[in-house]
């Protein structure tokens, strides 16, 4: 059998359906804490197997999936409400404003305040798409770890600086 074929996992539809339940719960309450033990209980999977099973099913570790949902929701709140950035941070599940700002910037490439200004300046041409699907379309596509993304950004910046220095 072709080992490079995308799927062929041994995950049964019944297991996948139970893993989906954990994903659904994070979707519904992304502001809550979701330690692996809690998610594993939802899926009726042992905590030792949960993270690996989830990643195999959905292609992203559960904690990173939670981050994408929190950032998606934060972006919506920044765009659609007048909540302060502090309130947005706490309502989307962060315990500290600093962590929220840093991770938000790592993932989206701009600060919460900058995103709010830009979104408000842009004309609203998406009014005809149902809101939940519109929101999903703006979910960050977090294919690498946040720390890795941060590292690469720093590396790029350093690289750019070096090039500039070389030119001088």
């Amino acid at each position: 059998m072709d080992k490079t074929a995308p799927n062929p996992t041994n995950q049964t539809p019944e297991l996948l359906r139970r893993l989906l339940r954990a994903k659904d719960r994070m979707d519904a309450d992304s502001h809550e804490d979701w330690p692996v033990e809690r998610l594993a209980r939802v899926s009726h999977v042992s905590p030792a197997h949960f993270a690996r099973s989830f990643k195999e099913a959905f292609g992203i570790p559960p904690h990173r999936y939670l981050l994408t949902r929190r950032i998606e929701r934060a972006k919506t709140l920044l765009r659609d409400t007048d909540l302060s950035i502090t309130d947005v941070a706490f309502q989307t599940g962060w315990a500290s404003l600093g962590t929220f700002g840093r991770i938000f910037r790592d993932i989206t490439g701009e600060s919460p305040g900058a995103l709010r200004q830009r979104e408000r300046a842009a004309a609203d041409q998406l009014g005809r798409v149902p809101a939940c699907f519109l929101s999903a379309a703006q979910r960050p596509d977090l294919t690498i770890a946040v720390l890795e993304k941060r590292r690469r950004t720093v590396a790029d910046t350093n690289g750019a600086r070096k090039t500039k220095e070389n030119r001088q």
Binding site: N7, L16, L20, C132
Partner: protein, 135 residues
């Protein structure tokens, strides 16, 4: 004749389970239920929408090979199929009724954008959004 969409199909993991869900819990009616050996053509419809049938099909032979069927089963169970939308008069009342019947809701009714909406899934993993019609 009236032109338009007459039937759309959903993939489900078990037709009997899906039938019980859509008929007993959602209040749909059976439109066609015909068997030919292992093959079962099963469609249901909303009681107020006789022009549209919802097919409940298990991916598999004779229309699909075993590997494709397995992949589709996995996709359905992962919630990867496109969302369906159910219009109701009163979202909160429908939510209470369906939840009491054992429907798995993934989002409680939320009032926004001038209407009320909730999300639920069928036993196979197909996702539905239930939206209250604007008055």
């Amino acid at each position: 004749m009236t032109q338009g969409i007459e039937m759309m199909g959903l993939y489900v993991r078990d037709q009997e389970e899906a039938l019980r869900f859509y008929v007993d819990k959602l209040g749909f009616r059976v439109h066609t239920d015909v068997r030919n050996g292992d093959y079962r053509w099963l469609t249901v419809q909303h009681p107020q929408q006789p022009s549209l049938q919802l097919g409940l099909f298990v991916p598999g032979p004779p229309t699909l090979d075993a590997q494709s069927a397995q992949m589709l089963q996995a996709l359905v169970a992962k919630g990867a199929m496109p969302p369906m939308l159910l219009a109701v008069d009163d979202c909160r009342a429908a939510y209470e009724r369906m939840r009491a019947a054992g429907v798995e809701f993934t989002q409680e009714p939320v009032e926004r954008y001038g209407t009320v909406d909730a999300n639920f899934r069928d036993p196979s993993g197909n996702g539905w959004k239930m939206v209250q019609g604007r008055q």
